[in-house]
């Protein structure tokens, strides 16, 4: 991987990042569209959670990972502190892997 490849990836990523904020400067969006855009961010983040919890690339990640994320999700739903959610998720996954669960 050359410096050129790194730069192309960096510039392309930055273009994706900066396009939204700059467009928002120039155009006034109707309320309904703004609402849909906030919903779309939640949809993306939730889909990211789901795929990151279950998949490793194009393969199933094994049971330990979704079990940990689920444990964290249940704790978050029960209003546990954020730190507890994060530590518990990692702990459950690490514990299951220690026990030999994939």
């Amino acid at each position: 991987m050359s410096i050129v490849a790194v730069l192309v990836l960096a510039v392309g990523t930055y273009a994706f990042r900066v396009a939204g904020p700059l467009l928002r400067d120039r155009i006034v969006l109707p309320d309904r569209v703004r609402t849909l855009l906030s919903i779309s961010a939640v949809v993306l983040l939730f889909a990211l959670v789901a795929t990151a919890a279950v998949m490793d690339g194009q393969r199933f990640a094994g049971w330990a990972l979704p079990a940990g994320v689920l444990a964290g999700g249940v704790l978050a739903w029960r209003r546990a502190p954020f730190v507890v959610v994060v530590v518990a998720a990692a702990g459950v996954t690490a514990g299951l892997r220690l026990l030999g669960v994939g």
Partner: protein, 224 residues
Amino acid sequence: MWRTLDREVVRDVLALAAADVVIGASFGAIAVSAGLPLWLPCALSLLVFAGGAQFLAVGVIAAGGSPLAAVFGGLLLNARHLPFGLAIGDLVGRGRLGRLVGSHLMTDESVAFAMAQRDQVRGRAAFWATGTVLFVVWNLGTAAGALAGTAIGDPAALGLDAAFPAALLALVLPGLKDRDTRRAALLGAAVALAASPFLPPGVPLLLALAGLVVAVPRRTAVPS
């Protein structure tokens, strides 16, 4: 900026930063032990600053893939920042310079933290705090890991790959109370999961936006 933030938010960001530094270190170590030069993971962390795409790119190269595939895969994975930016563009920064700099700090975590706040001022502060802290620890972690090389342990053994989705889930959960949002998110996640075995990483996430169809029809249902 820090005064605008609730103490809880500061504590939560620091918790995430602790996990981030370890993952950054493992990224640096993995890259160097795959035979890549020391500067490469550091340049990626500094200039790309997107963990998923960086791991993907280095993974492709380490597996003997072409740089073109590494770059293309990374870009696909990062395409989600475009809809993120459209959604939270107002929270990225005030003024042109603020937005140009703030955009580089846009990550899943900074977007999620910003959206979890109850008003715009707090949202903007949370975005910058999360983005800045994670940028610093991610780069320090990468450099430390690249220098330490294979001495760094496996982050999977620590379950850190579960920490980040769980953190995002905790941040997104309050937003799912809204019925339209919940239905769209569930449908979107189902679409993304169904597509994941067949498409390169990143593309299923974009397809998840199809979930929005269940949130749209209300506009026509309510005549105005």
